[in-house]
């Protein structure tokens, strides 16, 4: 009998209460009639099956009834239904969008097999982390035992010639180990063999799916095709799968590394340019690998005390190779979305409570007609679930419209696609939060309503409902105001930070400067004189264009490529310390006219000159911070320092520029004359970026400039055409996107909180109609009535504002890293947010107050 009792629990309580007794009776008889174990077993099996299917059917019956009833009641109050659905859609939409991006960037494992065994390795000197030099890479790889495989890559860009227009493409040269290490298979063909990754091996090439489609038209016979990359022949050996992005999503082709044993590659242990990835052996933890690398690097330091001074390894999960700022941006976004959801939930709960109070008579009638409490609660929960699911569905639509706008927050440096999609995971998330909201904020009011028990509403008329519910509703409104203050302040702080960053002087002119890249291929241009010929032809023609005031070439535009760092050793300083970060400087080769083109002030001495040839004394122009570092309060002109294999003399001093971008401190800058470099040396520093300044719209110059370049070298592609203003604006693009999103969230929150206050007060007024009528009849002034209503709103708002200020300050502290120096307690921001909340309270209270004033005392008293 006990077992049957448990089975009966599958039925709804109301059904059990109604028929349980008799069902138990019938079952007892059947059990008595069954003789012998087989018959008893058969009865049990049949009973279990019967109870489960019937219980499901009964539940379904009730659900259908409740749904029908819900549709009818909601149709009777479309205003309520619409408000609830919209409020929820905003809450769910904001969270679904935030989740889809956060999940995509922060949570989801990288798209490789066993991604938690993939690590990145860096060289670490005090205060700095950097790429590996080939010599150290080879030693690390051979000396360490923690890794199954280790591989290296360098991001490169090459010119593809001979397939239609010359194209400039991003890609990577990789060691043969790299792709097997990641665990990816090509979609077609094969990956590199060790033999193809040797010095002198013929060129082989892997295409990305996108490149295969765009340039080779998806030709299935592409394997074995010969192409020219930077004038060197390569053979296509495979096509990678569509969703393979490595090292970043811009990579379109891969070639083998083919280290050259007797070149710059291995000449200098401080020639750091290799990015290194490894796969941990099974069972080896990150910490163990880190410890082992500590031993390996200490050994190498003893072996090479000068070059490897204080050099250690930094081993990091590949998943965590994410800029701290991206992480913070996304966390702020998620926090803001949760605030919006909180407000949406509070609003929904308040709506349901208010509606529940108004429906007490109806509930009382249904209860009197024999509906059990469980059935009433169930009905109310069904109602809120229907609202929640409708809101959730609309929310997913909102989210799918919003996600493309959030794609800017996906950092390009991750090996994942640009844009997250609304997939099953995200849908499940949306369903979960809608469901939880529906149940959570439907059950609460329903329980409260039905706990009344005796449903005094029938007797007492509309005044029933007591102060407890009023208190709960007030708490909800306070929560809404709190959350909206937090959002307003956070959005405000970020806007201030954005303005501050946008107001930062980059140190160079941004107006009227057009830039483009002509990546000169090697070995075609490995002779300095040949390059000089190209630059001279292009620059003299460009300078002759109408409107162009100056033009120049540089290696690496500021803010575009932030690397290119080299230690500098001034004369008289010991060489041993050169590795520590405090001697790093940003190194660039330039043609004459670069400073004039970018408007960088020349403070002392002269610009680099055409006469600074390989036979002349090696000259350099340095920035003011470089002078401050080595020769404070002294005349820097004529001083010497060693950098990039040569002794250089300072001939000029220019203003500092923000090489690393608006938000990061930059190393001091050193500019060297483009002719003072040995043939075939420092090929990574070949000036490839053309800059020109024009008084009129610089974009208009482009067709003429293209023609000039074609005239100088018909095979030379042009890429990355941008204005300097674009480049600087790009610096704040993800911030601007985030501020827009957060601002939208704050606006939604603000609106919802206002609606919340308005709703609560309107309801209070309508329930106090009689009381107010009596007050008016007894001679209360209209002003007093208004005051009474507004005071109620103001009390709630000030409690919310107080709490909000505390939380907003905490939120500000948490995202201090994003604030670019704006104080988390910025008074102006807080004052504006509080001011807005006061405005919202007044507006929210005004309508209900006016309604209260218009109450006709005679009507109000008579109505009962």
């Amino acid at each position: 009998m006990r077992a049957y009792e448990i089975l009966l629990r599958f039925y709804p309580a109301s059904f059990r209460a109604e028929y349980g007794e008799e069902m138990r009776g019938i079952w007892a008889r059947r059990r008595r009639d069954a003789s012998g174990p087989p018959a008893v077993a058969a009865l049990w099996i049949a009973t279990v099956f019967e109870v489960l299917s019937n219980a499901a059917a009964v539940h379904w019956d009730i659900l259908r009834q409740d749904l029908r009833y819900t549709v009818r009641t909601l149709a009777r109050s479309p205003g309520f239904a619409l408000t609830a659905v919209l409020v929820l859609a905003l809450g769910v939409g904001a969270n679904t969008a935030a989740f889809s991006v956060t999940d995509f960037v922060l949570i989801r494992p990288l798209p490789f097999p066993e991604p938690d065994r993939l690590v990145a390795l860096w060289e670490k000197v005090p205060g700095y982390k950097m790429e590996l030099s080939p010599s150290n890479y080879v030693d690390w790889k051979h000396m360490s035992k923690s890794f199954e495989r280790m591989g290296a890559y360098v991001e490169t860009s090459v010119n593809l010639v001979g397939q239609g227009d010359p194209e400039h493409l991003e890609g990577a040269t990789v060691t043969a180990d790299l792709l097997p290490l990641l665990g990816v298979q090509p979609m077609m063909g094969r990956v590199f063999t060790a033999a193809e990754d040797r010095e002198g091996a013929p060129g082989t090439l892997l295409l990305s799916y996108q490149l295969w489609q765009a340039v080779f038209g998806g030709d299935a016979g592409v394997i074995g095709r010969r192409v020219n990359l930077d004038n060197e022949p390569f053979v296509v050996i495979g096509v990678m799968p569509r969703d393979f992005h490595f090292p970043s999503r811009n990579a379109e082709l891969w070639t083998p590394m083919r280290f050259r044993e007797h070149s710059d590659d291995f000449r200098d242990r401080n020639n750091n340019y290799l990015s290194v990835v490894a796969r941990l052996k099974r069972g080896v933890s990150l910490a163990q690998a880190g410890a082992e690398m500590g031993v390996v690097t200490a050994q190498l330091e003893r072996q090479f005390p000068k070059e490897n001074a204080q050099t250690r390894a930094f081993v990091n999960l590949l998943r965590d190779e994410l800029p701290q700022q991206s992480r913070l941006l996304l966390m702020a976004l998620t926090g803001a979305a949760l605030c919006v959801l909180t407000i949406a939930c509070a609003n929904l709960a308040n709506l349901l409570l208010a509606r529940g109070l108004a429906r007490q008579r109806e509930l009382a009638v249904r209860s009197a007609m024999g509906a059990g409490r469980e059935r009433l609660v169930r009905q109310l929960v069904t109602e809120s679930l229907v609202l929640a699911l409708a809101g959730g569905a609309l929310g997913v639509l909102v989210a799918s419209a919003a996600v493309p706008l959030l794609a800017r927050l996906v950092p390009a440096s991750l090996p994942i696609a640009q844009s997250p999609s609304i997939d099953l995971r995200v849908l499940i998330f949306a369903g979960l939060i809608s469901g939880l909201t529906g149940i959570g904020f439907g059950v609460l009011p329903a329980q409260r309503l039905c706990r009344q028990g005796d449903f005094s509403a029938l007797r007492e008329g509309t005044r029933a409902g007591g102060g407890r519910k009023e208190r709960l509703r007030s708490v909800l409104v306070i929560a809404e105001v709190t959350a909206s203050v937090v959002l307003l302040v956070s959005a405000g702080l970020l806007v201030r930070a954005l303005w501050r960053i946008e107001g930062t002087d980059p140190g160079f002119r941004t107006d009227g400067v057009l830039t483009l890249q002509t990546a000169l291929p090697m070995p075609k241009y490995d002779e300095t004189a040949r390059r000089a010929g190209f630059y001279t032809r292009v620059l003299s023609a460009v300078r002759a264009l109408p409107g162009v005031s100056s033009a120049a070439y540089i290696s690496y535009l500021p803010m575009v490529r932030t690397g290119g760092i080299w230690p500098a050793t001034p004369e008289g300083q010991p060489v041993e310390i050169q590795r520590s970060g405090s001697h790093q400087a940003s190194l660039r080769f330039v043609t004459p006219g670069f400073f004039a083109t970018l408007g960088i002030p020349l403070h002392r001495g002269r610009d680099v000159a055409e006469s600074d040839t390989i036979d002349a004394p090696f000259a350099s122009v340095v920035s003011e911070s470089f002078v401050r570092r080595y020769w404070p309060d002294q005349d820097p002109l004529g001083r010497h320092f060693k950098m990039a294999f040569h002794d250089r003399m300072v001939v000029g001093v220019v203003g500092d520029i923000r090489v690393r971008g608006l938000e990061r401190p930059s190393e001091p800058q050193v500019y060297l004359p483009y002719r003072q470099v040995q043939d075939g040396s420092l090929e990574g520093y070949v000036p490839n970026d053309l800059v020109m300044h024009s008084a009129s719209r610089p974009e208009a110059l482009l067709p003429a400039v293209r023609q000039i370049i074609r005239g100088a070298d018909s095979e030379q592609p042009v890429s990355d055409v941008r204005t300097m203003a674009d480049i600087v604006q790009e610096q704040t693009a993800s911030r601007a996107a985030q501020v827009r999103v957060l601002g939208a969230f704050a606006a939604i929150a603000f609106l919802l909180a206002g609606v919340g206050i308005h709703g609560l007060l309107s309801f209070a007024v309508s329930r106090r109609t009689q009381e107010i009528g009596v007050r008016i009849a007894l001679g209360a002034q209209r002003g007093e009535i208004v005051q009474m209503i507004v005071r109620q709103g103001a009390l709630l708002a000030s409690a919310g504002v107080m709490l909000g200020i505390v939380l907003a300050y905490a939120a500000g502290r948490a995202m201090e890293g994003l604030l670019a120096g704006v104080q988390p307690g910025d008074a102006l921001t807080f004052a504006s947010a509080v001011g807005l909340c006061v405005m919202m309270t007044v507006l929210g209270s005004l309508l209900p107050a006016l309604r209260a004033v218009r109450i006709d005392p005679i009507q109000a008293i008579r109505s009962e």
């Binding site: 039925y11 059904f15 008799e22 009973t47 019967e50 019937n54 219980a55």
Partner: protein, 120 residues
């Protein structure tokens, strides 16, 4: 809950259990177990309603207005206080007749096609 009665035809076809229960309570008020026994007897034991099916059907039939719970009790010596007795309503009788008509027509059509043995 305060339903106005629909057209009898709108409930057709009736689930077999419902039809059998209507037949069982057609002549006299019965309690649940008696309905089960009656159905079993009339079908020669082929249809043995389970308690769950019975009461689920009863609940739905009450809502549809096909039967009512009666307050009249049988003679005290036959009565068991725990039991509820059900009675067919006039609407229930209409529905049962409509269902019977539907089934008859069906059988007639089957006979025309020669699927039923017996008189033509």
């Amino acid at each position: 809950m305060g339903n106005t009665l629909p057209q009898p035809d709108s409930l057709l076809p009736l689930p077999p259990a419902t039809f059998h229960i209507l037949l069982a309570v057609a002549e006299e008020d019965l309690h649940g177990y008696a309905i089960i026994q009656d159905v079993a007897a009339r079908t020669n034991g082929e249809l043995k309603l389970s308690a769950g099916t019975l009461y689920r059907s009863i609940q739905r039939m009450l809502e549809q207005g096909l039967i009512v719970e009666t307050q009249d009790r049988p003679a005290p010596e036959l009565d068991d206080e725990r039991r509820r007795y059900y009675r067919i309503t006039p609407f229930g009788a209409d529905v049962a007749r409509a269902e019977a008509r539907r089934l008859t027509q069906l059988v007639r059509m089957a006979r025309d096609r020669g699927f039923v043995a017996g008189r033509a």
